[in-house]
Symmetry: C2
Subunit: 336 residues, 2 copies
């Protein structure tokens, strides 16, 4: 049995920089036509110069592969309208992080004072630049996303012309919120379709499955799965693939992030097939994103076949993927 | 300022065996007058011979210190009344584990069929042997204890003359359940008075705070704190101090358990002082247990003073304690 996907898109991807970028960018480029690249470097990407330079480093790392890095800026409330106008053709979106909520987000937003945010959000609305949001409060880890939903709603209501993407949603509350505002969209990761907190800490502790937002309850996973499997037109695939060196993941104080980019399509096909929803995968993994963002990514057809695929234990001796050392039921046989 | 505690008791302690026993038993014996020793060795303690032999190994490890190891058997539903009669003077309680729920519990109880359990529980009631229970189902990690409460209630109702101790409770539901049956009691650990899931996985991942039952929500911790600080007559201190080698705690697939025995009294005094409840600590850490179990432990007075105590990073190069490398506000100045 064979599955064919056209222009698969990963609408939430961490490519990092330097040595890690050189390892992970080619892996995404192997099977994806393009990806929305997150700007939380150290320092974060906040200038046109940094943006173009990072884009060039990504393309250098990717080499000959067909792969479009859709770029993002790190949200700052003091961007001028002139600056946004000047960068609008170089970016696909701006990513907002609450301060300190995840890896390299220290320079993010504290409080969500509409007066403070309005000039930039109004300018973005006018220029048609979508806002991607890491929506978590600083509250109890299982409640952070649900607690953030009133902020999403405040933004959606006050900026009706702004496309707002709730990134890597993990709760049934977030799935419900999507229905209440026309201008709210969401990305869903691979790992949140597969795991709950039980997989992270229900048996032995599994640092390679530790991420932010943390995997939630079984009923939350069910709600995400329902939205993804029917390819709800407001949701898109975004892996939030977030590589950290093996040593950093396996030491106490392990950083948050699951590395899924190179195995994401294989695992998605497996999941959608299991739920008899293969006919919706093209929408979830590409068409919805094309429509929501209005993009036309480079042509790439990826063919997968139903044949055992042993996931590597580690890539370049550095990064451990989800399903490391385990066998998936689907492998990529060609991409291009 | 000085605090004096008489006969501190740790009513839930894992001393392990062999090399680990030799490291940890003297540390408990330094500050505790006695402890209820858990039987989940490999293989578990299920015979009189194993019991007496383990007790001797503990006493050998403790050496000259005054320390009473109160012994437990690993619950089996096929113990005969004659066997229980023969061991009753050698044990203080029998510990029931649901099969596979925590470290070395594979031989525990599957299902809670009263018909199967009744012969042993009736014999225990008649002989006055309390039943200690690790009360978790195999459900979602945050729900396991609350889901087990109907089983506690079934046991409490059907065996009204059996003292049942809900071990290491972690939820407000368990605190509530205590009030509903006269024959239900509970132990509370140090770490569940200090931490929630936020401390384990809310920031970076902290394997040394990963335990079973997992630390729960802030409102759960508040309920435990309320019961401990007022020294509710049905609750006792039981550390559930559970040493694992540093390597095992810091690798992927980290085992569950927090090692608190050597710093427990210092941290309890700090906590009770902070909440202006020092006058209840003697009851929580000794008197309640004496009364509930009807024991008369060897005399030991422990004096602590309000003076900085730097917790070791590691004991004997092997076991990392809670608060490793941090400074507590109280130190033990004498014990004997």
């Amino acid at each position: 049995m064979v599955v064919s996907l056209n222009e698969p898109l990963d609408m939430h991807l961490h490519l990092r920089d330097a040595g890690m970028l050189d390892i992970v960018a080619p892996l995404s480029a192997e099977t994806f036509s393009g990806a929305l690249v997150m700007p939380n470097l150290v320092p974060p990407v906040t200038t046109k110069e940094a943006l173009l330079s990072y884009r060039k480093r990504i393309l250098d790392a990717v080499g000959e592969s067909t792969f479009m890095p859709y770029m993002t800026l790190f949200f700052k409330s003091d961007y001028s309208a002139g600056f946004l106008e000047a960068v609008k053709d170089d970016i696909l979106a701006i990513k907002l992080y609450p301060a300190g909520i995840t890896t390299n987000s220290e320079g993010g937003v504290s409080g969500f004072d509409l007066k403070e945010l309005a000039p930039v959000l109004d300018a973005m609305s006018g220029l048609g630049i979508p806002l991607c949001v890491h929506g978590e409060t600083g509250g109890f880890v299982m409640d952070r996303e649900a607690e953030f939903i009133p902020i999403y709603e405040k933004l959606a209501k006050n900026f009706p012309d702004l496309k707002i993407i709730m990134e890597h949603i993990t709760t049934k509350e977030a799935v419900e919120a999507l229905k209440r505002f026309e201008n709210l969209y969401a990305t869903i990761t691979l790992h949140h379709l597969y795991i709950t907190l039980d997989d992270v800490a229900g048996g032995l502790l599994q640092p390679h499955l530790f991420c932010k937002p943390i995997a939630k309850r079984p009923e939350d996973r069910e709600a995400l799965l329902d939205a993804a499997l029917k390819a709800d037109p407001k949701v898109m695939f975004g892996s939030d693939s977030a590589p950290h060196p093996k040593d950093a993941k396996e030491a106490p104080g392990c950083a948050a992030g699951v590395f899924t980019a190179p195995i994401a399509l294989q695992a998605l096909v497996q999941l959608f097939e299991k739920h008899d929803a293969l006919d919706r995968l093209q929408s979830f993994v590409s068409d919805n994103a094309k429509r929501i963002y209005g993009i036309n990514p480079p042509e790439k057809r990826v063919i997968l076949e139903n044949s055992p695929y042993l996931v590597p234990d580690i890539y370049e001796g550095t990064v451990v993927p989800m399903f490391a050392g385990r066998t998936l039921e689907w492998r990529v046989v060609s991409a291009g």
